[in-house]
């Protein structure tokens, strides 16, 4: 039986993890390698590294640490941030990434999904969408959620899957940071529209939110979160134990 995936997301700037993290026993709290290993050891099913660097030098630092992470950690690694061209896919895949997540880059050039899927396979291309309700309609936002593209989100995501996206990360701007649970309504709409795996993001405040997510929407494949893991509010072993108690299949380590 396929298990539900739990995915911590790490923001990286100039090769260092940003957003303070709060763990006992880690020597270097901003080392992507140490944090990645910590998560991998505690049962994370996959890791997402999001590069928020703006400079070329920062990019180089990012790929250096990615290489080191891939040398140390043997679970699937997804990289997002600054993916605007096939060269960017190439750059991170060579460093050991397994999947590449596109967001604004695909909005600027939707053909990027098609070209990348053709070259690297559908399984490699993750379409990440930041979505917010505008006048009761789901809109896709660009530039880290700052800019309304005016595009209707479900149609955009369906089109992305047709172009070759092998997975969808749905980040609800409406629930992100609120910590009152995932956006079940929005996730349901996406799950009903596409047949590729859907990863829920935005809104997790505690263990119960993951239980509710997978119980309410069995079609959702994975839950992604950042701060609740980084601040130690939820540990992955506790989360997986709770999911298991609720008869939701999870991988045990």
């Amino acid at each position: 039986m396929i298990t539900k995936r739990i995915i911590p997301c790490l923001d990286v700037r100039d090769g260092r993890v940003v957003k303070g993290v709060n763990f006992q026993g880690l020597r270097d709290l901003s080392s992507p390698v140490e944090l990645g290993k910590y998560y991998s050891d505690s049962g994370a099913d996959e890791l997402v590294f999001y590069d928020i660097t703006a400079s070329a030098e920062g990019r180089r630092l990012f790929t250096d640490v990615l290489t080191e992470v891939a040398r140390t950690i043997f679970i699937p690694l997804t990289v997002g941030g600054g993916i605007n061209a096939l060269d960017d896919f190439d750059r991170v895949l060579k460093c050991g990434a397994d999947k590449v997540s596109v967001n604004s880059g695909a909005i600027r050039d939707p053909n990027l999904i098609f070209e990348a899927a053709k070259r690297y396979g559908d399984q490699c291309v993750v379409l990440s969408a930041d979505v917010k309700r505008v006048g009761g309609v789901f809109h896709v936002f660009a530039k880290g959620g700052r800019e309304d593209t005016g595009m209707e989100a479900i149609a955009w995501i369906k089109k992305g899957v047709e172009r070759g996206a092998g997975e969808i990360v749905l980040n609800s701007i409406d629930t992100d940071g609120v910590k009152q649970g995932f956006d079940l309504e929005m996730l349901d709409a996406v799950c009903n529209a596409v047949s590729v795996p859907v990863i829920a993001s935005g809104g997790a405040g505690g263990i119960d939110d993951f239980v509710t997510l997978f119980k309410t929407l069995p079609k959702v494949d994975a839950g992604l979160a950042a701060s609740i893991f980084h601040f130690g509010e939820v540990t992955i072993p506790d989360l997986k134990a709770a999911l298991k108690e609720n008869n939701i299949p999870v991988r045990e380590v």
Partner: protein, 207 residues
């Protein structure tokens, strides 16, 4: 020394790193002589069956791999590399494989229920068949490994050593004497995956 076959298909960085992590000496190579001298051979692969089979033939390494395997050298195929071990594959047409294990590679859509997603992506549990393979000596029934695939090995019941349940039983690993293969990615399957590679790499393991 373990030879990882490089025939221009996929990214070998993680596989090489995972062998380093278990202390196995490995080399990524497209050189026939290196394959002949190696103690064991790993055949990786991602992408489509026909493409990969063509590329392998274009390098001429197919004949070397077949020779070495028939002479008893341990060979492990990974993901598409496992699929290539079979007689033929039906992905975008019909293509000949290496013919080292009887069977064929068919779409999982033929056997799984319609509401199951394709590809089969994610962590799934291994169900061993009756005689536990030495490849699994460091892991246990029910351990999860990471899959990404839309095709599976069919009509090969004699060679199956593990299945994964995904609405149907899908071939997860096969073995026929010294030739074996994993449909999943051991190099992306955490400690469990490393332990499978370790068992394969160990001198005394008769794969």
């Amino acid at each position: 020394m373990i030879a990882i076959v490089d025939y221009g298909v996929g990214n070998l960085f993680s596989l090489k790193s995972s062998l380093a992590a278990i202390g196995a000496e490995a080399v990524v190579t497209g050189d026939a002589d290196v394959l002949r001298k190696a103690d064991k051979i790993l055949l990786p692969g991602v992408g489509a069956f026909g493409d990969a089979a063509d590329k392998l033939r274009a390098t001429g390494l197919d004949a070397v791999i077949i020779d070495e395997a028939r002479n008893g050298k341990p060979l492990m195929g990974i993901c598409l590399g496992m699929q290539l071990l079979f007689d033929r594959g039906f992905e975008y047409g019909e293509h000949a494989g290496l013919g080292l294990i009887p069977g064929e590679v068919r779409p999982i859509a033929e056997v799984i229920p319609a509401d199951y997603k394709i590809p089969h992506i994610g962590w799934n549990a291994l169900c061993f068949t009756e005689n536990k393979s030495p490849l699994f000596r460091y892991i246990k029934e029910g351990d999860c490994v990471y899959f990404v695939h839309s095709f599976y090995a069919a009509n090969c019941a004699d060679s199956v050593i593990a299945n994964a349940e995904y609405g149907a039983l899908l071939t997860a690993a096969v073995q026929r004497l010294n030739v074996c293969g994993c449909q999943f990615h051991p190099e992306k399957s955490g400690r469990v995956g490393l332990n499978i590679l370790r068992a394969f790499c160990e001198e005394e393991t008769i794969c």
